[in-house]
């Protein structure tokens, strides 16, 4: 569904120029573009731009052609140049956001979309795309803040119900999420509803229950974005890492920017000491969510495994500065210091580990005077 929401933006992006003898090169490029001869169109646009480097239409169409070929970085540059010529053009800004989104650069995508939504609050496509970006970034509260006030505008929209319902569930406000599940379920059996139900159970710690719903969601619609990722997470949590790895791989085949699949498959491969195979996955997970402590930790630990100790050290030092209670990061930073023969620094980290562990033990002991989970 999320893909369907986004796909609309690749159609209808090239705009016909007025016929003009001076503009013959541009006209020909546009014809080639419309005929699907993208490489030739790109060459035409570039030729035209060599004469008229700030031409808005040529720049925006060139960006669209490049994006169609998956050359997002070049597309982004051209869209930016087009926006410099026409700063208020909402269509190009949306295309720019989409190029960022497609190349897993969610932060700049969000930045563009937020300014679009601020200027055009009723632009439903921008709203849903922004919500989708937030979902990928794990910013569930922002989804709720964005979508909840717009519920009346999207009362029949399944994508909206799915995004807002999922945000409530992942933000642990399952009762509010339930309402959207019912809305989706009310239409017909759907993968989206199964995914939401599974997510609710998973949040409640019922991993075997969640696994059943995710399996059903995969059966109903294997193309649903993130469905394999969620199923993989549930398999991982119920002790089936091989099954989980298979699901993460399936997710990445159709959705290469899925954060959970990149992170968890990378971590599993790292655990198996398939370090070079893990590296691009973990690097990509970090690109998708640059602030994620888990992604930062896994990549730093991988660099340590690979002997890239200075890179690992830098990342871990930054991580423990940002998240001082991250015990595993302190442990790994201590290891790195010891390997770098910085014993005093290693000992200092070890002392922090002991202190944090003692604090956690105390917390757990108190918490478990009433009830403790099984092993």
């Amino acid at each position: 569904m999320r893909l369907r929401v986004l796909a609309v933006w690749l159609g209808g992006v090239c705009v016909l120029a007025q016929p003009d003898s001076v503009e013959a090169t541009l006209k020909r490029a546009i014809e080639l573009h419309q005929a699907g001869r993208l490489q030739d169109a790109i060459a035409g646009y570039e030729q035209y731009l060599s004469q008229r480097p700030s031409h808005f239409l040529a720049l925006s169409n060139l960006g669209a052609a490049l994006a169609s070929l998956g050359r997002y970085e070049e597309a982004i540059r051209r869209y930016r140049e087009a926006l410099a010529a026409a700063p208020g053009h909402a269509g190009v800004r949306l295309n720019l956001a989409l190029a960022y989104y497609k190349s897993a650069q969610f932060e700049p995508a969000v930045s563009e979309l937020e300014s679009l939504v601020a200027a055009r609050a009723g632009d439903s496509r921008a709203v849903l795309l922004l919500a989708d970006c937030y979902l990928r970034q794990g910013e569930y509260r922002k989804i709720i803040e964005l979508l909840a006030p717009r519920e009346a505008d999207f009362s029949q929209d399944r994508a909206f119900a799915y995004l807002l319902g999922m945000a409530y569930v992942l933000d642990r406000r399952t009762e509010l999420g339930q309402r959207f599940i019912e809305r989706i379920l009310g239409q017909r059996p759907s993968a989206e509803a199964e995914l939401l139900l599974g997510s609710i159970l998973r949040m409640g710690g019922d991993h075997p229950g969640a696994r059943k719903h995710f399996a059903r969601a995969v059966e109903l619609n294997p193309a649903l974005p993130s469905v394999h990722a969620f199923y993989g997470l549930a398999l991982l949590e119920t002790g089936d890492p091989e099954g989980a790895a298979r699901q993460f791989r399936r997710e990445l085949e159709k959705n290469p920017h899925d954060f959970d699949s990149n992170l968890n498959l990378g971590a599993l491969l790292r655990q198996e000491r398939k370090l070079e195979e893990a590296r691009p996955l973990l690097e990509h997970a970090l690109r998708v969510r640059p602030k994620s402590p888990a992604a930062r930790y896994q990549l730093a630990a991988l660099y340590a495994d690979l002997g890239r100790l200075d890179e690992a050290r830098g990342m871990l030092e930054a991580l423990v500065a940002d998240v001082p209670s991250f015990v595993e990061a302190h442990v790994t930073l201590a290891r790195v210091y010891y390997r770098l023969k910085r014993k005093a620094d290693g000992d200092r980290q070890q002392a922090i580990v002991r202190k944090l562990t003692a604090q956690k033990e105390g917390d757990t002991t108190e918490a478990n005077r009433s009830e403790a989970p099984p092993r």
Binding site: P208, G239, V331, T332, A372
Partner: protein
């Protein structure tokens, strides 16, 4: 496709002959590598009482330990089993007994615990460490417990005396594994005792499901850690706790397993301690009772993801024959076990995935375990006994079981390989295994295994492997060094290939092992030479050629082969 049918006569013949009718003519059926010896054949009818209660007190799920020892010095391995017993949360209706099975030298055993004076349980027994602490030639017993442990001195006449008070070992708390080793190289075995958690009936915590009103065994995370204890042997039958002020006392853990080994080949025995839910400890012995806890720096303390795991069983051996002691630790399900290869610089690398151990143990919880050459081919193999600590685990896990299978890994030159499915029917069974001890109870040169099962009868496994291989059994007897020769380095050559073994002590979980070392020669019919480097304070190196094969010999420090 037409399914072939049997004639009535052929069918009858198959029914009469059973599976043997299917074996090709002229080919004998090999016995399983390890064969379960039933109580009816062994005479071992003792059953562990785990005292499992509605309250699910944690000590109930941790025992029992077991040991192979030759308590009467007749040259045949006897077996000791530890039972639970009275404590603040449990008062048995009838007195519980430990068992001491004397080897009848015909494959059967007789329980002589009462006559020997080691039957009575005065605390909730856990494990046992065997060592000749007074160098009188008779192995003594240290029995750990929730409550007061017991030091039994072997009187040399088939009986033991409880000397705990006199020895200064009447400690309380909750002790688990223990190991005898000579940390200060003065020729006397000292004692390291693992201490688990702060636990008592009064301070017990509720772990369970309030809605169902059901209790289950707590994760030890909810109990406070404690320091383990090191006792110096004063040489007069008494011991002095010497851990205070050292890293041993500073390191608060939840110790379950310990092995004494020398990780840096400096001649001082070190200790690797497995802790449950907190980091493992590697106490490196710098001499003069200076201990450096290097677990984190050595990379054996935490998982690769920086997490403390539930360490239980441990062992050490130079499994890759590079001259450095490697380490092993078993954890609970989902954590996988670790095989730490020694890098030779006081650091280690976890190679469990390389050998398929991590994959094979993901759903298992490991306790008793041992590196040994089960088929006498000269390469060190690995035996693992498993079982989940929570008897209700199957209520909330679809994959993890309470009773779990044994695992056998054979060293095949480059790698260890899981051969459990080829090792015999017993590997298809499930057990709540805890302690595991190895020893050659029938003196055939093939090392057998005994497993203590929680709340069940123990398991005696006869080793039938490597029948075509030759071997030499060594009983080392120190004179200047400790009499058990713990810390001796044995080096030998077969067909020009040199191998060596350090006589570690401890390892596994709550258990103690046959003190003899069996050297496997494979098909070779000659041992080129063998050298014993006795531990300090001896500096002696004894070298032998023309040694006999396929028998045990006693080698006395400085005096050569005694028998």
């Amino acid at each position: 496709m037409r399914v072939p049918t049997l004639s009535r006569r052929a069918a009858l013949r198959l029914m009469v002959l059973g599976a043997s009718a299917l074996v090709p003519r002229g080919r004998a059926v090999d016995p399983p590598l390890f064969e379960e010896v039933p109580p009816s054949a062994s005479g071992i009818r003792w059953v562990h009482e785990n005292a499992m209660s509605e309250e699910r007190y944690l000590p109930e799920t941790l025992g029992p330990g077991c040991a192979f020892l030759d308590f009467d010095n007749d040259g045949w391995m006897d077996i000791f089993f530890v039972n639970s017993g009275p404590c603040d949360f449990y008062q048995p209706k009838t007195p519980l007994k430990n068992a001491l099975y004397r080897n009848n030298r015909d494959g059967t055993f007789t329980d002589v615990a009462d006559q020997a004076g080691v039957a009575r349980t005065t605390a909730f027994g856990m494990g046992v460490a065997v060592g000749d602490y007074d160098n009188d030639g008779y192995p003594d017993l240290f029995v750990t417990a929730y409550g007061r442990p017991t030091l039994y001195h072997n009187n040399g006449d088939g009986t033991f005396t409880d000397v705990t008070e006199k020895a200064g070992l009447a400690i309380g708390g909750w002790t688990t594994s223990a190991v005898w080793f000579d940390y200060d190289n003065d020729g006397l075995l000292d004692l390291f005792v693992c201490s688990f958690v702060e636990f008592s009936l009064k301070n017990n915590v509720f772990c369970g499901d309030n809605r169902l009103g059901r209790k289950y065994y707590c994760i030890p995370r909810v109990f406070k850690p404690t320091p383990s204890l090191l006792f110096h042997n004063n040489g007069d039958g008494t011991f002095t706790e010497v851990s205070r002020g050292t890293d041993v006392a500073r390191a608060l853990g939840k110790a379950l397993g310990v092995v004494a080994t020398d990780i840096n080949n400096d001649g001082w025995m070190d200790l690797f301690v497995a802790n449950d839910t907190v980091q493992n400890f590697l106490f490196v012995n710098r001499g003069q009772n200076r201990w450096e806890e290097l677990g984190l720096a050595a990379e054996v303390a935490f998982s690769a993801n920086g997490q403390a795991r539930s360490g239980m069983g441990v062992d050490a051996a130079d499994f890759d024959n590079d001259g450095w002691q490697d380490l092993f630790v078993a954890n609970v399900d989902q954590e996988m076990f670790s095989l730490y290869r020694n890098n030779g610089d006081e650091t280690f690398r976890d190679d469990a995935h390389v050998h398929g151990i991590a994959q094979a143990t993901r759903l298992l919880s490991g306790w008793g375990l041992k590196f040994f050459d089960f088929d006498n081919d000269g390469l060190i193999d690995l035996f693992l006994a498993n079982g989940h600590p929570d008897d209700m685990i199957e209520m909330y896990s679809t994959q993890v079981k309470y009773k779990e299978p044994l695992l056998l890994f054979r060293h095949e030159g480059e790698r260890l390989r899981n051969i459990s499915h080829q090792a015999g029917p017993v590997f298809e069974k499930m057990f709540p295994a805890r302690g595991l001890a190895i020893g050659d109870y029938n003196n055939d040169g093939r090392i057998d295994v005994v497993v203590g099962n929680n709340g069940m009868a123990p398991l005696l496994l006869k080793n039938n492997a490597g029948r075509q291989n030759h071997w030499l059994g060594l009983r080392l007897q120190g004179t200047t060094c400790n009499r058990d020769a713990v810390g001796a380095r044995i080096t030998w050559s077969v067909g020009g290939v040199k191998r060596s073994r350090l006589k570690n002590n401890g390892g596994s979980y709550l258990s103690s092992h046959d003190p003899r070392e069996v050297i496997g020669l494979g098909r070779a019919t000659k041992l080129d030479w063998l050298e014993i480097r006795w531990p300090l304070p001896s500096r002696r190196v004894d070298r032998f050629t023309d040694l006999p094969l396929d028998r045990y010999v006693t080698i006395v420090e400085g005096k050569g082969i005694a028998s």
